[in-house]
Symmetry: C2
Subunit: 385 residues, 2 copies
């Protein structure tokens, strides 16, 4: 195991009916801005539950955060915050709303001239508004971590600060019942690939982390398809297991003390930035190709994955690794997710553009060994056609 | 999965050389009391590392915390705290030193007349000194949780407050290399039984928690005996895996959203209180008997344990459960731990006294279904002879 520091102070309230916990988590004298997306929460009852929980608070609304939240939208919140003297943010949504709220939290108290510097110049975040979360789409883990991704002019860029980590997160699995199949699929695939990015690297004999990863992957494999199947889609136990898996997949725990990859994510971000493809769908397209390309580097862990997650015991090492990757593709297909560039209407002629973007963003040495060069990214993309 | 709230804000610094992180974790103007046990840290270099890390702090010492820390010892620290205007505690030791420091932290700022009321009358803890930890014996999980056990006149009694949860914990596996075999054995058995208490109950289809438990149990089973074997006892990877398992076994995570048992612990506390038997050794004596006695209640989870942890696939249900319990006993024996009352020099004539103590402490309805009456505790003890 590698040395590490781990600190995740977000308080979690998990289960049906927990939205009412907002009431006691946000100081009664706070002036709250409820931040949300396209308004679906007004149709499915979540907004009403939040409003009921905030009945004794002074609160305001800011809506319209889009998937892959853009800088141009987010900065509009700053005027609302100033006008109403807001001092607490409550994000009600999935990863995009939460990520966007994190940027708003930091931008609202940013002392420099241009809040975009937080991302573009990695300007230090010295203060941020406190942030609470009601999670509606389990996927990104953003509800308890310190990171966020913001898009500007087709560039999808990350920032992180412990000051924007949510103070609390409400995880009520029943609110996920109204998600579309596509949203459910995206969430499960995202959590799966988050886990893989921290698991399928090289071994440092971190047995707890390995087994926690394998437990999350097995849970997603077992329960992911159930959330799409007619007879089990309303099953709250299934929804609960998926929600908790997605949070645990990116709260820092399984990645503590182990190498991490993230090549699939970094290449995927360019597919989203340039072609507006759902984040999770870029991951299901790319991951199998990344694993095949990096199978020598990742050999020991791929064999462990084949055995422990997929129970593959027949064939020589190469055959078992290939079987495990095929099983991974079959799982993505069962989740109704694409597994090739063709599936998302991209072709060979798009690869140069993707590589240009990777170069532009400095993504020229990816992966746990920093050896995924642009040439290797090209191989990965070509094999994903 | 059951509804739950989870909050563990302790910051962890894990790995060799991390003791120096104390320097930045404790405010530079703090007046620190270093609390420790019998003085072994002065012989193995840990004290020197702590002293070096505190070279720019004002600090004092309080030593002599015994295993199963007693009220009479702990209250002596209060005079030292008053004399030197101490405002930060640093516990350097195992579960007993940490638990004792938690009580000192609460007692130092207790507003009532008698700090024993914190335990005896469950008096509310409104303030506590901040506490940091350098863990030397991985076992109890006390380094990141909010609970403690204190002994007075042979009565071993618990208290808990979020105000005594350590602000930070240093987990350096290399400091465990000087532990005796008995200490290593105790730590592994304690972590194993903590996990079992939160795992072998009845199923609520909490797949993540179940698999995390199974991962911890498998890690302890694989690496526990290696920490006692001549050729692997110095292996820092082994020590690291055991240390991280013990923390994860009782930091609140695997017990969130699931039923919990703790009958083995509660009966075990009486064996320690009345006969001064090491805490972990009471657990290895009692757990197999508890599992056999409760095998109907725990049937589904025992079958899952047999299959996933011990890979037992032959025989009917009862036979597989019995094999899993036998494997558990064999594991305890491999850890040089006792598995019967006879092994710890107790006999049938002691059972009445143990039951009297259980009754005296209100332990008359134990277990995840509160159905372990005194009569069932008697059955459990008789079967453990």
């Amino acid at each position: 195991m590698l040395n590490f520091s781990f600190h995740n102070p977000t308080k979690i309230h998990f289960g049906e009916g927990q939205i009412e916990a907002i009431k006691k988590e946000i100081p009664s004298n706070a002036r709250v801005l409820v931040v949300y997306g396209g308004g679906s929460i007004k149709n499915n009852g979540i907004f009403d539950q939040v409003a009921a929980a905030l009945s004794e608070h002074e609160w305001f609304e800011f809506s319209g955060i889009e998937p892959n939240p853009t800088y141009d939208t987010l900065v509009k919140a700053l005027a609302v915050i100033k006008e109403h003297k807001v001092d607490y943010l409550l994000a009600v949504g999935g990863g995009s709303v939460i990520d966007g709220s994190k940027f708003i939290a930091a931008a609202a108290l940013f002392e420099g001239d241009d809040p975009w510097d937080i991302i573009a110049k990695r300007a230090r975040v010295n203060a941020a508004l406190p942030l609470g979360v009601v999670l509606t789409l389990p996927a990104t883990g953003s509800e308890t971590n310190a990171g966020a991704v913001v898009t500007r002019n087709g560039n999808k860029l990350p920032f992180a600060s412990k000051l924007v980590r949510p103070a609390f997160a409400i995880l009520d699995p029943s609110v996920t019942l109204t998600l579309s199949d596509r949203q459910v699929s995206n969430g499960v695939v995202d959590a799966f690939v988050h886990t893989v990015e921290q698991y399928l690297t090289y071994s440092v004999n971190a047995k707890v982390q390995d087994r926690f990863c394998e437990g999350l992957l097995q849970t997603l494999i077992e329960d992911g398809p159930k959330a799409l199947a007619a007879d089990t889609r309303e099953d709250l136990e299934v929804r609960g297991n998926l929600m908790w898996s997605a949070t645990m997949a990116l709260n820092g725990l399984i990645g503590a003390g182990v190498p991490q990859d993230w090549a699939t994510h970094m290449i995927g971000h360019e597919l989203t930035g340039s072609y507006n493809i759902d984040h999770a769908r870029t991951l299901s397209v790319l991951l199998p190709s990344v694993l095949r390309n990096r199978r020598v580097n990742k050999r020991d862990k791929l064999l462990q994955y084949a055995q422990r997650v997929w129970h593959i015991t027949q064939g020589d090492d190469d055959a078992r690794i290939e079987q495990a990757i095929v099983k991974t593709e079959q799982f993505f297909k069962a989740m109704q997710a694409p597994t090739s560039l063709k599936d998302v209407d991209l072709g060979a002629s798009d690869i140069d553009e993707i590589l240009k973007k990777l170069e532009q963003h400095g993504m020229t040495a990816l992966g746990e060994k920093r050896d995924v060069t642009l040439d290797i990214s090209r191989e990965i993309l070509e094999a994903a056609l």
